[in-house]
């Protein structure tokens, strides 16, 4: 079902590649469209096209109107779903301890909508997931959200209805702490990254169901093979191609959708628009990075500046000094920089597949730009990423037939990550629902959290890259109990069918995962796919465990690179029905979601 109406075939005319990647300098939101009752075409003809930055709304009572506006990021006027006419949605700025009232009115003509406050602890009926927390907001109707802010930090909000998030319904949400933060900053900027497509998001989903590999224009070719033969010899090159060929997989499948479809935005501005955040030399600047993209991992750096990460997913961490970080969809990182010595610095955010980038500038005044760094080489997935090449497909015809895994036990050989207490020395047990399941195209053999691995395309790049291992919550385990039980879920999928699930069972046919109110339990995730998945549990924190199974890092969204097994503790102190899903929007919609029900 389409959310925004699309004209014609749903295919945008082909702009030049450069225009597509860099976008329009003057592109952005054409506000007031819905109110003016004009079609995008008429609006364009009227010659107005000013990009507007989102407003900051900082009162405890606010009104948000969800409607349709026209945007132009690529030279084509397209409809977007906006909040109060802006894309991104307004920056909401509140204070810890406040009780906020938010009136959200749906001004869309035909579609119900919703707003989910990502990472906020609140009653289930305020969580904004249609069908779990409330009935959604029908066209013309409104919903009154009211909740007390129990936390502080950088968060965001977005639609939880169909593909509306992709169409533009996302914004930053900042909660100032009651106690002063454990760092000093002279000024701050929100840096909200996102991915924009001129396609109707529903058409993009249908396209992926037809040809999931549509955007992978980076497959290895015959000339690549001949190059590898010259470099590595026939047997090595053939063995490598054979391994991937038997799995029917492609090592260049880094992301499902890339810059062939997307224009990447920073605060709603394409690279050519050069979003600029100002600083005075010598100031400490806090950058609140939010990844509001539907399908895009960004690798972020500011050439010339060290970054000190002081919070992850809104929660303070021991400061970590780094050159670069990877931010998964839905994650937030608060980063301190101290620009001085240059008038301008580029904030460079390349997508994980190195097909495009979002970019903007930190500068002493508007109109400046620093050089754009070259994009890194495109990465290839390794058999290590595929959990040591023990993908079941690699065993030929047997596929999921073997379940005992005799002889597959892997020695724990990953340095600091070795000795994960409840995984060490054991082979992976796959759930029975994965066996013989046509929706499960591979099974990994991941026994390892790999918290210290910078990840695909970031290893050994000469820069200090943030890892989950390097981030440690500034506080001890707020609950303190050991988990009373453990639930293991496998992330599963079928690349070609674009079918995604937990344990091979898509959301539509899955039973809720039931938690007893008050319990402290552990969720273990095993990534049985070759894709990376940010897994978000609504309502409660996900306290990521270290290699020894101890409390390590409080998150609301836990990134799961391929070939990893990661665990986190959950304190089930929020009654209700909560969404638990991959935050790659199209993976969620394709089935990688469960209901978590916390009951007395």
């Amino acid at each position: 079902m389409s959310i925004v109406s699309s004209s014609g075939t749903g295919l945008p005319a082909l702009p030049s590649r450069r225009l597509f990647v860099q976008g329009l300098a003057a592109g952005g939101v054409v506000t007031g469209l819905a109110a003016a009752g004009m079609s995008p075409r008429a609006f364009a003809a009227a010659g107005r096209g000013l990009a507007t930055a989102p407003q900051v709304l900082d009162t405890p009572r606010i009104a948000l109107a969800i409607g349709e506006s026209a945007v132009d990021f690529t030279g084509h006027m397209r409809p977007a779903i906006t909040v109060n006419g802006s894309l991104p949605a307004p920056i909401l700025r509140w204070r810890e301890g406040q009780t906020v009232d938010i009136h959200v009115r749906n001004r869309l003509a035909h579609h119900p909508t919703s707003i989910h406050w990502h990472g906020l602890l609140l009653p289930a009926n305020m969580d904004g997931v249609p069908g779990l927390s409330f009935n959604g907001i029908a066209p013309g109707e409104a919903y009154h959200y009211r909740f007390t802010l129990k936390q502080s930090g950088t968060y965001w909000y977005h639609s939880h209805s169909m593909f509306q998030e992709q169409a533009g319904l996302y914004g930053a949400l900042i909660i100032d702490p009651i106690e002063p933060p454990p760092y000093h900053a002279d000024r701050e900027h929100v840096v909200l990254l996102s991915d924009w497509t001129d396609l109707d998001p529903g058409a993009l989903f249908r396209r992926m169901k037809k040809l999931a590999e549509h955007d992978n224009y980076y497959k290895r070719t015959l000339p690549d093979f001949l190059r590898d033969v010259r470099r590595d010899g026939w047997s090595s090159a053939l063995a490598d191609r054979g391994m991937w060929g038997r799995m029917r997989m492609t090592p260049t499948d880094i992301s499902d959708v890339n810059a062939h479809t997307y224009t990447y935005l920073m605060n709603g501005t394409a690279p050519a628009g050069n979003w600029t955040g100002l600083f005075r030399p010598g100031e400490k600047v806090l950058l609140r990075f939010i990844n509001g993209a539907s399908m895009t991992y960004f690798d972020v750096r500011v050439p010339g500046l060290k970054m000190t990460v002081v919070a992850a997913d809104g929660q303070y961490i021991h400061p970590v000094s780094i050159d670069e970080f990877r931010i998964a969809p839905a994650e937030t990182f608060d980063v301190l920089v101290e620009p001085s010595g240059q008038d301008a610095y580029t904030i460079f955010c390349q997508d994980m597949g190195r097909t495009g980038f979002a970019a903007g500038t930190l500068a002493v005044r508007h109109g400046l730009q620093a050089p754009l760094p070259a994009q890194d080489p495109r990465p290839l997935l390794t058999m290590g990423d595929m959990a040591h090449g023990h993908a079941m497909a690699g065993h030929g015809m047997g596929m999921q037939a073997s379940s005992g895994h005799e002889g597959h036990a892997m020695p724990m050989a990953h340095g600091a990550d070795a000795g994960h207490d409840h995984a060490a020395g054991t082979a992976v047990q796959h759930p029975r629902s994965e066996q013989g399941n046509p929706l499960v195209d591979m099974q990994g053999n991941a026994t390892d959290a790999r918290l210290d691995d910078p990840g695909i395309g970031l290893r050994d790049n000469g820069r200090t890259v943030l890892t989950y291992g390097a981030m440690r919550s500034l506080f001890d385990d707020p609950d303190g109990r050991d988990p009373g039980r453990e639930v293991e879920l496998h992330l599963t999928g079928h690349m070609e069918k674009f079918a995604w699930s937990f344990d091979g069972v898509p959301f539509a046919g899955a039973e809720p995962l039931r938690l007893a109110y008050g319990e402290r339990m552990r969720i273990v995730l095993v990534n049985d796919t070759m894709m990376q998945h940010p897994i978000h549990l609504h309502g409660v924190w996900s306290d990521v465990e270290d290699a020894q199974g101890g409390f390590h890092l409080r998150k609301h969204t836990v990134d799961m690179p391929p070939g990893t097994r990661r665990s986190y503790r959950v304190r089930a102190d929020a009654l209700g029905r909560w969404a638990f899903h991959c935050h790659l929007l199209y993976h969620m919609e394709a089935g990688m979601m469960r209901e978590v029900r916390i009951e007395e």
Binding site: F134, A401, R485
Partner: protein, 302 residues
């Protein structure tokens, strides 16, 4: 009637099965699995749960110290309960559509041949359905000298029996050659290891005729847009049917090599060469045993 390959029917079926590139038999135990309709309560789809033996085995004193949360769990009020489980309209849960479709015109081409002039050929397939069960339509045909020499349309119910293989059952209607003829069809198709796109189908028609058609395609990427596609297709029959130009055994063996350029993913013109060998009655009927022609066409999907 010349050199057709003589094969008993059993051997023909055996050959077909041997040609199937998948150990389909190994999946038969799963073939009846229906994820869309099965009773989930009877299937072990629940997450693996196990209490922590390590924790249980550790010192009781230490454990009991960790049994109380640092911050007590609030006691829920009735208001909390009401907020946690509001009355919901079950229709409010919106799902992305689970029914999708694809129409792929693999070959739509003009053929040139020195002796026989020019002709046209097509091969298209499409599906509509979910991730597991799909309705498939397939059509293949040839025209020569303005006359349709062969044309068929198949409608099949397809079901995934493994991540890479679908079993299909349905009907095929031949419009040419000869009088229209209806077949029952049973086949398998999918992606073999090393990414060979493969299909093999057995057809049972009137008069006790059994035929089989198998096709294998492969893609060699010269660049990510310039793609060389070898293709092999074979048809076999169990009985002689001189009137229809069908001979017992191997009837035709066709090899093609097409080079396409993907202007977009959806639209790719190509050029290529096709070689067809006819055996036995099929060759007699067609009047030639070998036929090589150049082709130019487009590949599209919607």
């Amino acid at each position: 009637m010349s050199t057709h390959v003589l094969l008993p029917r059993g051997a023909l079926i055996g050959m077909l099965l041997a040609a199937l590139p998948v150990a389909a038999q190994s999946h038969h135990d799963h073939a009846s699995m229906d994820h869309s309709t099965m009773d989930h309560s009877s299937v072990d789809q629940h997450p693996v749960e196990h209490t922590r033996h390590g924790a249980a085995a550790s010192g009781q004193a230490q454990q009991s110290a960790a049994q109380q949360p640092r911050h007590p769990i609030p006691v829920p009020t009735d208001a909390d309960r009401a907020a946690a489980f509001p009355a919901l309209d079950h229709r409010s849960m919106q799902h992305a559509p689970s029914i999708h479709s694809l129409l792929r015109v693999d070959r739509l081409e003009q053929q040139w041949n020195g002796r026989h002039g020019s002709g046209q050929a097509w091969e298209a397939n499409g599906w509509i359905g979910g991730d597991i069960a799909r309705l498939w339509l397939r059509s293949e045909g040839e025209r020569n000298g303005g006359r349709t020499e062969s044309a068929d349309l198949e409608a099949l119910y397809g079901r995934s029996i493994s991540p890479w293989w679908d079993v299909l059952a349905g009907v095929r209607q031949d419009f040419r050659p000869g009088d229209p003829r209806t077949w029952a069809a049973l086949g398998i198709q999918g992606l073999a290891p090393y990414k060979f796109e493969t299909s093999a189908t057995l057809y049972a028609g009137s008069g006790g005729q059994l035929m089989a058609r198998a096709e294998v395609e492969y893609e060699i990427l010269l660049t990510n847009r310039l793609i060389l596609q070898p293709r092999v297709e074979a048809t076999l029959a169990a009985r002689d049917e001189p009137g229809r130009g069908i001979g017992r055994g191997l009837n035709t063996l066709e090899g093609g090599l097409r080079l396409r350029y993907e202007v977009t993913r959806r639209f790719a013109p190509y050029i290529g060469v096709n070689h067809e060998r006819r055996f036995g009655d099929a060759a007699d009927h067609a009047g030639n045993a070998r036929d090589t022609h150049w082709v130019a066409g487009v590949r599209m999907w919607f």
